[in-house]
Symmetry: C2
Subunit: 485 residues, 2 copies
């Protein structure tokens, strides 16, 4: 891995070599064809690419990685192009190739006795969920971009979502992995072992490394049985502290039933019911805050409803919640989820907003919400804090909507002040500046102050050891060597 690269090839020679390996269908060079791969979906980043390469197999990918290494060509992996942090967008040098694995899109098999699915990187998460469901099982990983996001990117970014508190994030659901390493060798870790203590946790390391240590080509994912009963309930609470009490009550009864626990502020809910057609609050009165919870069990005779009613009844009696409604049908359940899922859209309609995907220890969520709300209100009078999200995991999308009547540009000009205000509190509460979305190219600058010292040093050593020429998704995750420890 330390041999010198061959002399740089002219662009057309390189492309000819790529075409030899991939065939003409596997190499895009036309500017129009390439354009969609050079911009992220939020349009935050606009890069250029030498070419877009579309290998159809692990062997083809390994061959082009070796070619890129030999000629010092940086590589940017891309799946469904749904990164929130520019993790899959090339830089503007035009030297980088984008490597898109969407042609590797086979579901290789589902093992109904082992509850596993072997699946290639280019399958969309939705297609994977559907295939699992048709086979009688559930792939519990679910994120809002699942219709486009592909398994390779889902694993490379260790995706989370609504059901993480019960089933874990992408890393916990990945039993086996195949990846092309930065020298073009193939790591074949497509094992289906629940216990395997034979050396370092490479699989766990590759998951979440955002394509900087290797490109994931195939995975073996853990499936779960389908739930036979699901109860969704919307609860009105006084504040996040009461929501935490409700979580504690549910966990003390049976933590294995809880598969979602979503917090919503009164402000956020009001925006949804005001601005989203068909979104109505199914409670008699509005409240300062809400919890959308979901209980589920695969057990056929579990009497889940009895449990749900009993525990919510107890919560009402004890004053933990002030009101609650349990969905009586699939459509009512969808209606409750609509209130949660339309938060981002309602905020968009309300004007400019600033987003923070942060996490803190679950017990600190109330303090985070109280303190960050006050601090932002002090910073910009009239600002509308609308925190919501995966409270059961301590993961809050601490979004802030502009004051009514303020010019959006004036509000957005304060974005960094707002983010810094929230960040400072998250940091004091031992939290994270990126709970779900990763680091990408948006947040490497935050790494030295949040993960500096021995931690960042170890990450840099690992990166340099595996990818000494920094050709795998350069500029992502780690800040430049000149910045920070």
């Amino acid at each position: 891995m330390t041999a010198s690269p061959s002399p740089a090839l002219a662009r057309h020679d390189l492309i000819a070599r790529f075409s030899e390996i991939l065939g003409p269908a596997g190499v895009l060079t036309d500017a129009t064809d390439i354009a969609p791969f050079c911009t992220d979906w939020r349009s935050l980043y606009h890069g250029r690419a030498l070419a877009v390469l579309r290998p159809a197999s692990t062997d083809e990918l390994a061959a082009i990685v070796r070619l890129c290494v030999a000629h010092d060509v940086p590589m940017v992996p891309q799946g469904g192009n749904t990164s929130m942090v520019g993790g899959a967008t090339p830089d503007d040098t035009g030297r980088e190739v984008v490597i898109c694995l969407s042609r590797m899109n086979r579901i290789r098999g589902i093992d109904p006795r082992d509850l596993t699915m072997e699946i290639e990187a280019g399958v969309t998460l939705k297609a994977a969920q559907d295939a699992a469901w048709e086979a009688g099982f559930m792939l519990p990983l679910s994120i809002s971009s699942e219709g486009s996001a592909q398994i390779g990117g889902v694993l490379a970014t260790n995706a989370g979502g609504n059901n993480t508190l019960r089933y874990g994030n992408a890393r916990e659901l990945t039993l086996g992995l195949e990846a092309v390493m930065p020298d073009g060798s193939v790591f074949n870790g497509l094992r289906r072992l629940r216990k395997d203590n034979t050396g370092y946790a490479l699989r766990q390391l590759l998951v979440g490394s955002e394509g900087t240590l290797g490109f994931i080509t195939t995975a073996i994912l853990q499936l779960h049985p389908q739930p036979r009963e699901i109860d969704a309930a919307l609860c009105a609470v006084e504040d996040a502290s009461a929501a935490l009490d409700l979580l504690g009550l549910l966990r003390s009864r049976d933590p294995s039933l809880l598969q979602a626990f979503e917090f919503m502020s009164g402000t956020g809910m009001e925006l949804v019911t005001d601005l989203i057609p068909g979104a109505g609050l199914p409670l008699e009165e509005t409240a300062p805050a809400y919890v959308l919870l979901e209980l589920a069990t695969p057990r056929p005779d579990a009497d889940l409803r009895e449990f749900t009613e009993s525990v919510l009844g107890e919560a009402l009696e004890e004053g933990i919640i002030t009101d609650a409604v349990i969905a009586e049908s699939e459509s009512q359940r969808a209606g409750l989820w609509k209130l949660r899922e339309e938060h981002a859209e309602a905020q968009r309609r309300a004007g400019a907003s600033v987003k923070n995907d942060v996490s803190v220890p679950v017990t600190h969520v109330p303090e985070l919400i109280t303190r960050a709300t006050s601090a932002c209100e002090a910073l910009i009078p009239g600002i509308r804090p609308a925190p919501f999200g995966h409270m059961g995991d301590g993961n809050i999308h601490f979004n802030l909507v502009q004051p009514e009547g303020m010019a959006p540009e004036a509000f957005l000009a304060r974005s960094h002040d707002i983010m810094d205000t929230v960040s400072a509190i998250v940091k004091e509460l031992d939290g994270s500046f990126s709970a779900e979305h990763g680091v990408g190219q948006l947040k490497p600058y935050m790494m030295p102050s949040w993960r500096g010292g021995a931690e960042l040093a170890a990450m840099r050593h690992i990166k340099t050891a595996l990818d000494p020429r920094n050709l795998m998704n350069p500029g992502k995750v780690l800040p430049p060597a000149t910045q920070g420890a």
Copy 2:
């Protein structure tokens, strides 16, 4: 990390420096004091040590690591000294120091709302379990050496045990970690975050690295609620294939209830009931094989017994099992577990035996047992295969007892033939040569053929990057560079 070491100090100078840092109580040099640290409990390895160092804090440990690095002194971490693979025993050069963290033995706190425990490396697993239980929770990690094994070693070896199929192994239960890295810096990852996508999975990498990448000093562990109902049942089955059907049936009903699923062969059970006083089979007839299963729930009104009886009734009706008994009391439950836990002791009493701690995909367990049994019987007529263990995780202790009447030495002379026979089948079934016990110094020679190519190469790159002078537990996990890829 690449600066040249200072000139080697004479032993007495080094010891004086260690004593300055640790005080006299922290440095053992007397041969009698050192002896217990130089031999593993199975007495497979006998090493020597320059000294045994007993830091009382992370700062003290960091200081001695820096001193060792400066003077090129290799370090061997040791906790309860319960390794099955010589992972904590020094070599015979006398150059190595043993670093024992048993003075770092505080349980720093339990957070009842976050269900977490902050705990230092030197606490025994049993003490950690007890503290969690007294606080009203459960630390589900349980292994037979838990009375001696310390948290640092438990995490460094990614310990598993009986309840892994429900609660995960040590890695899954570790939310946060502090470790002293090979350059003496401190990785402070004592976070309690369920979601945190900010860079590489160092915590997961350190867990299971057997002290070769850093020394774990403190951890934040995930607790679970105590079960309120537990049903243990012993089932008679025709073979491992029927046991697999039983596992499938239980999982299709409610996988969240199952917390142990242990297979035992008829041969192994017969040895236990014949050779262990007070161990009687609570079934009317003996069977070719048995399953000890345990269902548990924290839910107070779960009617677990009704569920257990219903599912075992169905299994009987469908011919999956031929008989079953459910423990009616704590003492009956202990009696069932005694049948399982005395397997090793019964085998010891039956003469010489050869042990294999292997794993395969759960669905391949029947094939493993059938094929390995036949192959070993063909190899040594009269050999008594007595496979048992964590079938729910695909982890079988494939132990083989000598033929009756054979000289133990003659049988043990065939150890490697027997292990190779079992290994070859495990490998064909995409299994692992070490499910739970790790690699230590017993099995690095197996790494090139089982985890060679890109996988071992990546492990070597990581090791060299983090510990360029190979001073952290050298000779463990990875084979010498001259061996294998």
